[in-house]
């Protein structure tokens, strides 16, 4: 097993006096797609936000490529190679699709490289190219999700964090977006950490998975093993099928 690109040890996060994460351990290896499953309030998004730096952990360690990352401010982590597509998409509604994408490359100064990344994102999501001069607020939910992922890819990250990319989307669009994530992973070897409530789709896409319950990891295994696990099936996959 190669060294993990992202490693979390005993991560604790507090909201005020309430501890939301009670010591989370997790490792992601280069080239992997890893998913975190769990119910509402289990701490999935909190974990992701701590990794991207939008939340400050109260204890524990986040290591990226072997170096501590939890002491680095959020905007610097993008430069390190961690980019997040946030929950609820958060695209800039009053800016055009292209301007939104260029924001993703804000930390980069290599103009030809940025143009390459833009072309890459347009190839991945051709609808974004068709709508490049349109205001992002006028896109459909699925298109906005593609834009949010595209924006994160524009930072040319080494780890992509995806927070609920399927949220509020029709099954067909979920399929399309997950297809695109797999394509990026396979063609570029990009490491992906995916937080999902749609466990069935996530386990089909991911190599490995972690299951969270009320602020703890309760289970982790290969995606296939998790999908076959009776407990996971009854709790997250809607029973046997």
């Amino acid at each position: 097993m190669p060294e993990p690109i992202l490693e979390i040890r005993d991560l604790r996060v507090k909201y005020g006096n309430v501890e939301a994460l009670h010591g989370v351990d997790l490792a992601v290896h280069p080239g992997e797609i890893v998913t975190i499953l769990g119910a509402n309030g289990a701490g999935k998004s909190t974990t992701l936000r701590a990794i991207s730096g939008l939340l400050q952990p109260s204890a524990g360690e986040i290591r990226f490529e072997g170096r501590p990352a939890h002491t680095v401010p959020a905007h610097e982590r993008v430069r390190l190679g961690i980019a997040q597509s946030p929950e609820g998409r958060r695209v800039f509604g009053t800016l055009t699709v292209r301007e939104n994408l260029l924001l993703g490359a804000f930390t980069r100064k290599d103009k030809p490289g940025i143009a390459d990344s833009l072309a890459f994102v347009y190839r991945l999501f051709p609808v974004l190219q068709q709508r490049r001069d349109q205001l992002a607020g006028t896109l459909s939910g699925g298109e906005q999700q593609m834009l949010a992922i595209g924006r994160a890819l524009m930072a040319r990250p080494r780890v992509l964090l995806l927070d609920e990319p399927s949220l509020g989307l029709a099954p067909l669009l979920v399929k399309a977006i997950f297809h695109a994530i797999r394509e990026v992973n396979q063609t570029t070897g990009l490491t992906v950490l995916l937080v999902e409530q749609n466990a069935r789709a996530a386990l089909k896409l991911a190599h490995r998975g972690y299951v969270m319950e009320v602020g703890r990891i309760v289970l982790h295994d290969s995606a296939q093993a998790l999908a076959a696990d009776p407990k996971v099936q009854s709790a997250y996959l809607g029973g046997r099928k």
């Binding site: 946030p86 958060r90 800016l95 260029l102 924001l103 993703g104 804000f106 205001l135 924006r151 930072a155």
Partner: protein, 333 residues
């Protein structure tokens, strides 16, 4: 910058250059005031319009600049135009110190803090802080500026000085809008969390907006001091900050031509309404209210906002035409 806007700027510059030929000294002085408020409102526009930080204490920075220039020129005999950059630096340094601890505040909270800041500065000036500000009487005998051996004294002299500075400011701020810094401020205003998550150092850019806005207000303050030759705390009260806030919101947040037009209306209209005698501020207030109700986005809003409705319509037409092409087909490898 598009051609129409350039033409409008050119026409405005020509009219202003010729104004002293057609207008008496009183109206030229009104134009001077419009120019000063335009400078101040442009400085606030960086903070309020571009970065979206609700600052209702801009008069504090204006005061720091004006007093710096007044003190340097009356006590040290420094020519008042040399004091201009120093006034800007003093206001910028002041902003860096006072803004840093409150930058994490948003919207209404920041607004309340900045109102407090403006009042603290005004009261400090009244209380003759450091024994330098002359208390409630202020500072007298600020020398007139000398430009190319020519003493700037009459309203028309100031017209050229002030509007020359406005022109430089407009040019620089349009450049700034297009820059990485300008884009960062826009992202920040639209969604600070998404900006931070995309690698924009939000604290640094907010602070830079404050510092740069304050520097410009400070320089405008030094011109004001040179024009009036007397400054006192009452010129830098809460009302000044409110007026500047009003100009930016009314003209069109983040829009440079909008802010210029806003300054012309907010400063110029009360003069035009002099015919209403004592009721003129009432009429002025009513006009403001009606304008805000019928045109909330400002008189000359940012391009993006203006084209929004058209964009939506186009998007819907395109989508209707493209149906039934699901996104699935478009992303298959």
């Amino acid at each position: 910058m598009d051609r129409k806007l350039l033409a409008a700027y050119g026409a405005a510059a020509l009219l202003l250059a010729l104004a002293p030929r057609f207008l008496d000294a009183y109206w030229v002085d009104v134009l001077d005031n419009v120019g000063l408020y335009a400078l101040l409102a442009l400085s606030l526009n960086l903070i309020l319009g571009d970065a979206g930080l609700f600052n209702m204490g801009q008069a504090a920075f204006y005061a720091v600049g004006a007093y710096t220039a007044a003190i340097l020129s009356t006590r040290l005999g420094l020519p008042v135009l040399y004091a201009l950059p120093l006034a800007g630096l003093a206001a910028a340094a002041f902003a860096a110190v006072v803004a840093r601890p409150v930058l994490h505040l948003r919207g209404d909270y920041l607004l309340i803090v900045t109102v407090g800041l403006g009042e603290i500065v005004r009261i400090a000036l009244v209380n003759d802080v450091f024994g330098l500000t002359g208390g409630a009487n202020g500072i007298f005998g600020i020398p007139r500026p000398i430009l190319f051996g020519h003493k700037v004294k009459r309203p028309e002299d100031f017209l050229y000085l002030i509007w020359g500075f406005v022109a430089v400011t407009v040019f620089l701020f349009h450049r700034l809008e297009q820059s990485r810094f300008g884009r960062a401020l826009n992202y920040l205003r639209e969604d600070p969390v998404a900006a931070e998550g995309s690698g924009v150092d939000t604290v640094r850019y907010k602070l830079m907006a404050f510092v740069l806005g304050a520097a410009w207000a400070g320089m405008a303050g030094s011109i004001y001091a040179a024009k009036m030759t007397i400054i006192s705390p009452e010129s830098f009260g809460f009302w000044e900050s409110v007026i500047l806030f009003l100009i930016v919101i009314l003209g069109g947040s983040g829009s440079i031509p909008g802010v210029l037009l806003g300054a012309a209306l907010v400063v110029g209209l009360p003069e035009l309404f002099r015919g209403f005698a004592t009721a003129r501020m009432l009429v002025f207030g009513l006009v403001m209210m009606v304008m805000m109700v019928v045109r909330r986005q400002g008189l000359l809003p940012l391009r993006r906002v203006r084209f929004k409705a058209a964009d939506v319509a186009r998007a819907e037409r395109e989508r209707a035409a493209a149906r039934p092409a699901p996104a699935r087909a478009e992303v298959s490898p």
